[in-house]
């Protein structure tokens, strides 16, 4: 008896978004479609171990879910409102065929060319500006990514009821406020939100990866972000920022094995063992970034990818990185970008001008990396006492245990040598 678990998880993650979009079109209601899809997964979990996994598992799930949905609509037809709203589904008289091996439904065949489009519409719906950022993130993972609320909770380090509530509220708003499952007229703006949401998901998975108890699930989160970004970049080839984000994610992920030493400590970029970088992933990143840049619509994600790309070279050209940060600052001004620029300046002009630049950046008093930069640059300028204070503050403020440990150790080393 085969376990249906892995096959089901794969269908949910890779095909779930497309199935949900198709079902929503068919049934006219996202919430109903989502409920039916969940029920179909449950049916599969119960039946596949005995019956075997169908050859076209996604089609099987689709047919079961659609039949359930049509059944429910028929049952609810007693309620006049529902019947009116959904009459087009009933009128089309969906054939109630039992799913069978190879029983691919016509919708799936007809729409095979638009598979990317289905998933894209769903991702764009999840990123509708009428939803809060938290809701956009949870919905994108739940509906487009096919993750369970339990998986989302574990990977974002928030309680499961919170995730559930966000998803339920967002689905309610989509229905009550009439948010459409459609390619929006303001596609540029929506694609930008989508990139922000996917970038956030990737960061959540990547930054904390290998440094906390949920390391494994968080690594999966980063991979999930890469898979969703790849799908979005594919479906929106005219939006090179999505490709830029994808390249950025690949460059970061390629360094994964080298980021943490055998004791679980964070290894700084300059000290990493480059032999452990994933060269295939880096090459893929360069290819994707090259195509994105060819479109000549430079944006902040592409510039960040250029910076990450520069860091994968054997000899980092810091002057070039400073220029990239200047471009980034002109596109998205902000203290964090200014801080990154100042750190690059240290490599070009030396620690003193960089320190002056870091000290001038306002509004980062509660940001651990600002204090870490102060600590590092003051140390390099010979002001060891002030450096120690800055590292202590950085350790206090760091949320990530590996980053806190790193700051403590730097402070400690200074104290011992004083």
């Amino acid at each position: 008896m085969a376990s249906a678990g892995p096959a089901l998880t794969r269908v949910a993650r890779e095909e779930g978004g497309r199935l949900l979009a198709l079902l929503t079109d068919r049934l006219g209601d996202l919430e109903l479609a989502h409920d039916c899809l969940q029920e179909a997964y449950a049916t599969a979990a119960a039946r596949w171990p005995a019956d075997g996994i169908p050859r076209d598992a996604a089609a099987w799930i689709y047919v079961v879910a659609r039949n359930r949905g049509v059944d429910r609509l028929r049952r609810d037809a007693a309620s006049r409102r529902r019947m009116q709203a959904q009459s087009r589904v009933l009128e089309t008289g969906v054939a109630h065929d039992a799913p069978s091996e190879g029983g691919v439904s016509p919708e799936l065949i007809d729409d095979s060319d638009d598979a990317g489009d289905e998933r894209l519409r769903l991702m764009l719906l999840c990123c509708h500006p009428a939803l809060s950022r938290d809701a956009q993130v949870a919905l994108t993972l739940r509906l487009a990514g096919g993750l369970t609320t339990e998986e989302i909770a574990a990977s974002l380090l928030i309680p499961e009821p919170t995730v559930q509530q966000r998803v339920v509220r967002a689905k309610r708003k989509i229905r009550a406020a009439g948010i459409p499952l459609a390619i929006p007229a303001d596609l540029d703006a929506r694609a930008e939100i989508l990139a922000t949401v996917l970038g956030f998901i990737f960061n959540e998975g990547y930054l904390a990866h290998a440094t906390d108890a949920g390391a494994l699930t968080r690594a999966e989160l980063a991979d999930q972000a890469i898979s969703l970004t790849a799908a979005a970049a594919d479906a929106l080839p005219d939006h090179p920022e999505l490709a830029g984000l994808l390249a950025l994610e690949l460059f970061h992920r390629s360094r994964d094995a080298a980021r943490v030493d055998s004791h679980g400590r964070l290894v700084r970029l300059g000290d990493q063992d480059r032999a452990r970088w994933d060269r295939v992933m880096i090459a893929r990143g360069f290819a994707i970034l090259g195509r994105a840049l060819a479109a000549r619509q430079l944006g902040p994600w592409q510039v960040q990818a250029l910076i990450a790309a520069e860091h994968t070279r054997d000899e980092t050209d810091w002057a070039r990185i400073v220029r990239y940060y200047d471009m980034l600052l002109s596109m998205t001004p902000g203290p964090i970008v200014a801080l990154s620029r100042a750190i690059a300046v240290a490599e070009v002009e030396g620690a003193e001008p960089a320190l002056a630049e870091v000290e001038r950046i306002p509004g980062l008093e509660h940001y651990h990396l600002w204090h870490a930069a102060l600590g590092d640059l003051r140390e390099r300028c010979g002001d060891r006492g002030a450096a120690r204070d800055a590292w202590a503050r950085a350790a206090e403020l760091a949320r990530n245990p590996a980053e806190a440990a790193f700051a403590r150790e730097r402070g400690e080393r200074l104290r011992r040598s004083m």
């Binding site: 309620s79 006049r80 409102r81 009116q84 509708h128 009428a130 406020a177 009439g178 459609a182 007229a185």
Partner: protein, 118 residues
């Protein structure tokens, strides 16, 4: 479905009065907007309200009512008017809200509770 566009603005930002320069232009932008709604088959109703200084609030609490001078909440911005429109999706409603000829202010877009079938 129906959406209410609640037009909220800061009353200290003055709009032109009859006789002021630019008044005609100001008014024609609004009547054009209303006409566009009508032409699109989206118009249900719409009114401008007199300023919040003319508001009176009747508050129900603990089984009795009190009448108080002023709007229901002391906010910097006040409800200045509304449109009730009928369009297919929130995106269409947001688009109409974007097109409102308000110089400064906010438009709260709220779906109206559906009444058919209940």
């Amino acid at each position: 479905m129906k959406y209410m566009l609640l037009i909220v603005s800061d009353p200290t930002i003055e709009s032109p009065e009859p006789g002021d320069a630019g008044f005609e232009e100001y008014m024609s932008a609004w009547s054009q907007y209303t006409q566009d709604l009508v032409d699109a088959g989206a118009y249900v109703s719409g009114e401008a309200l007199q300023d919040a200084g003319t508001a009176t609030t009747v508050r129900h609490a603990a089984g009795s009512t009190t009448v108080v001078d002023g709007p229901f909440a002391e906010l910097k911005e006040h409800l200045g008017g509304y449109y009730l429109i009928d369009v297919d999706t929130l995106d269409a409603a947001l688009d109409w809200a974007r097109r409102l000829p308000v110089g400064e202010g906010a438009i709260e877009v709220r779906p109206v509770f559906p009444t058919d079938g209940y």
